[in-house]
């Protein structure tokens, strides 16, 4: 993905508690507030009990509101819009293409150019697997359009910051000093 594309779409990474219903709550926020989500990928993180999700928000959506609204959910431990930062992002796709003796080699040639892989070969079809940034996958699929695409499946984007920085540092939360004379509202007594 290019820099320019980064400015249009937003890539947001969230660290969430791995509990039933979390995805429902997050999706409910998107729906309720009318946020357009282009893709979503969820899986376990390096911390037990926490999942990390990457989602992509389309250009018409106010990404700041997405981050703030989703952050209000109690199960969302941390959330961050990494679009403007230096990061790596990847998507994966599998494309099943009609192929026989006559054109198989042409497809393989294309697969090699893109650094993709043939993962299944049948007498009348092949499945190509490709991993990369969104644009690369887009152009690969476009070029396969010269052949007959039978089926296409894609994952959502996953992203990670470059360098040793962690997307969600587990900051030590310090209780701020008790403000003199002020009790938090509604303190249960």
């Amino acid at each position: 993905m290019t820099r320019r594309n980064n400015l249009q779409k937003h890539t947001i990474i969230a660290l969430v508690e791995d509990r039933p219903g979390v995805l429902n709550r997050i999706a409910s926020k998107w729906r309720q507030r009318g946020f357009n989500i282009e893709s979503l990928a969820v899986g376990h993180s390096e911390v037990r009990g926490l999942s990390r999700m990457t989602f992509v928000v389309d250009a018409s959506t106010d990404a700041e509101q997405v981050v703030k609204q989703v952050d209000k959910l109690i199960e969302v431990v941390s959330i961050r819009d990494v679009s403007a930062e230096s990061m790596i992002s990847r998507e994966m796709a599998m494309i099943k293409v009609r192929a026989d003796k006559s054109n198989r080699s042409q497809i393989i040639e294309l697969v090699d150019i893109f650094g993709a892989e043939i993962v299944d070969v049948a007498p009348d079809s092949v499945i190509a697997e490709i991993t990369g940034e969104e644009e690369k996958i887009e152009s690969f699929i476009a070029l396969l359009g010269d052949f007959e695409v039978i089926e296409l499946v894609r994952t959502g984007r996953v992203a990670m910051l470059r360098g040793s920085e962690v997307s969600h540092p587990q900051e030590e939360h310090e209780e701020p000093e008790r403000y003199q004379g002020v009790e938090p509202p509604y303190s249960a007594k």
Binding site: G21, Q65, K72, L73, I74, Y179, Y186, K189
Partner: protein, 569 residues
């Protein structure tokens, strides 16, 4: 600690959280809870409502004035779904509430059991959090978290759904020492640098206004707001839910802004060069057409909920935190500035556009009734309202000096709120005078609760402003739909007889001279009273900003030829 059943644990947790009053209604799935109530009485009192919506509204009204968390009980399925309006109401107005619902037994969940409804799912968009408890041992932790989440940060409702078998199961009661929620850290303290910037803006401002909202009341920052207004000499405009955050008769109080706000306020906001927005969220009823809102103003937004900052209006400076803490910090850096030109301008607007006056008419006007209520009470009461014209008049023609004395459904605009919310207010403030101003439409949405009021003897005084119409809707039909009055005229029951059927004193006034005696009689009566005031049908509520128009286009009170009575506090 010894083993307990799930139901005992819920009750034990409520005791530990300081709950004294519960509003609810039993059913198959929450019977184990009800089975425990006698053992906890009178430490915890339960009030039986007639419809669960009213349990939620009563808990809501209770929470608003008691500064505690409101609690309501309902059974599974229809019991739980009946709570939904009440939960949504509390959500929109940031009211702390814990709703405990029974659920079908855990083995039936997801199989469309009798009286099953996915209430945790249904309430996701209208709660701060919702729990489905599937292990009795988790109940203490869940209850503790529920109260913590409901009452801290920007308060709001939390739902705890517990299957019947979990309420009956036994486990050890382990009360967590503290609440640990990784993903929940509401901000409390503003950034000192931002406070400094805010103080600079205030010092430079020539035409500042304070917009005070519900957040000031929730944070109990009455004194701090007053110190800011008086200390920096800035007029205060209170939003509908901000009413009673600042004394109503204070010379710096300009009243309400927005759709039915004072003309001078809307113009002052448009002409201001600085808006100090404290605990308010720039609702569309306040801003009018957003892109034309306060074009010359810099904005200091004092707000506890990060998601509200920049949602509607982009602030120049943000003080993120509890309104009381933020105002205290800000008040350390302010200085008194005379702003003779600005106050002169506002005075001029008030002179030329009176906004609130009561005409001399042969018919009984609703505004007159509310003004008489003000005279009779001197403003020293809790005022609960429904939603519609009467609500706006109650906001315009009554002055609230007593902090947090105006209880109304603001965000959701729930008609019928006035009866159950008044129950909650009276339960929280037993010795105090509670008036509930009702519309004839809204009154009929929840009037079954008159039975509840009668049972518990709550001495609430209801004033039905009866114009035999869904008044605000009729006003919109008149102004925007060619006066085509479809489905707005009401054929009402005899409200006096209706009250009597519930064993409640019913009074009626149809002419001006009857109003004061009726109010006096109601206030001298030792129990609940329903007063019906038959008012002019077609009275419109002004000033008004048409929906989608700019505040500049506020239509002031139309000038009538008849004699005017000047309104003063």
């Amino acid at each position: 600690m010894a083993e307990m059943t799930g139901a005992q644990m819920v009750m034990e947790a409520l005791v530990r959280e300081g709950t004294e009053h519960i509003f609810g209604l039993p059913g198959g799935a929450n019977l184990p809870l009800y089975d425990q109530l006698p053992q906890f009485h009178p430490k915890i009192r339960h009030y039986l409502v007639k419809h669960e919506q009213c349990a939620a509204h009563a808990a809501d009204g209770y929470a608003r004035v008691s500064e505690k968390v409101g609690v309501c009980f309902a059974t599974s399925g229809p019991g739980a779904t009946n709570l939904v309006t009440g939960i949504a109401n509390a959500w929109m107005d940031s009211v702390p509430m814990v709703c405990v619902t029974g659920q079908v037994i855990s083995s039936l969940i997801g199989r469309d059991g009798f009286q099953e409804a996915d209430i945790t799912g249904i309430t996701i968009p209208i709660t701060k959090h919702s729990y489905l408890v599937l292990d009795a041992a988790e109940i203490p932790k869940v209850m503790r978290e529920a109260f913590h989440v409901a009452s801290t940060g920007r308060p709001g409702p939390v739902l705890v759904d517990i299957p019947r078998d979990i309420l009956q199961a036994k486990a050890e009661f382990v009360w967590p020492e503290s609440v640990e929620l990784k993903g929940y850290r509401p901000p409390l303290y503003p950034d000192p640098e931002e406070v400094g910037k805010a103080a600079e803006l205030i010092a430079e401002a020539k035409r500042p206004v304070i917009l005070a909202g519900h957040g000031v009341i929730i944070a109990q920052a009455y004194q701090e707001l007053r110190e800011l207004a008086e200390g920096a000499n800035i007029p205060v405009i209170t939003t509908l839910l901000g009413i009673s955050s600042f004394p109503g008769t204070h010379p710096l109080n300009l009243g309400m802004p927005g759709m039915h706000g004072m003309y001078w306020n809307n113009i002052a906001i448009q002409e201001s060069d600085l808006i100090i927005a404290a605990g308010m969220r720039f609702d569309d009823r306040i801003t009018g057409r957003l892109k034309d809102f306060a074009p010359n103003a810099k904005i200091i937004h004092i707000e506890i909920d990060p998601a509200e900052v920049g949602k509607n209006v982009r602030p120049t400076v943000t003080l993120q935190g509890d309104a009381r803490v933020c105002l205290r910090e800000l008040n350390k850096r302010i200085e008194l500035i005379e702003r003779p030109d600005w106050f002169e301008r506002i005075e001029g607007l008030r002179r030329d556009h009176p906004s609130i006056t009561i005409r001399e008419t042969p018919e009984l006007l609703p505004q007159y009734v509310i003004h008489k209520l003000y005279e009779a009470t001197g403003g020293d009461c809790y005022m609960v309202t429904g939603v519609g014209q009467h609500q706006m008049w109650a906001a315009q023609y009554f002055w609230y000096d007593k902090p947090n004395s105006f209880v109304t459904s603001g965000g959701l605009g729930t008609m019928g709120f006035e009866i159950p919310a008044a129950m909650g207010v009276q339960a929280a403030k037993p010795g105090e005078l509670v008036w509930s101003i009702c519309g004839d439409g809204g009154f009929q949405m929840t009037l079954q609760e008159l039975a509840t009021i009668s049972e518990y003897g709550w001495p609430i005084k209801f004033a039905i402003i009866n114009n035999s119409t869904l008044g605000m809707v009729r006003q919109w039909q008149t102004l925007f739909y060619r006066d085509n009055r479809v489905a707005t005229p009401l054929r009402n029951p005899d409200f006096v007889k209706l009250a009597e059927a519930f064993g409640i004193l019913g009074l009626r006034a149809t002419r001006k001279e009857e109003v004061e005696p009726v109010i006096r009689r109601a206030m001298n009566h030792d129990g609940p009273v329903v007063c019906e005031f038959l008012v002019k049908e077609d009275e419109d509520c002004f000033p008004m900003v048409p929906a989608g128009a700019s505040l500049e286009d506020t239509i002031d009170l139309p000038v009538y030829e008849d004699e005017r009575v000047e309104m003063t506090a």
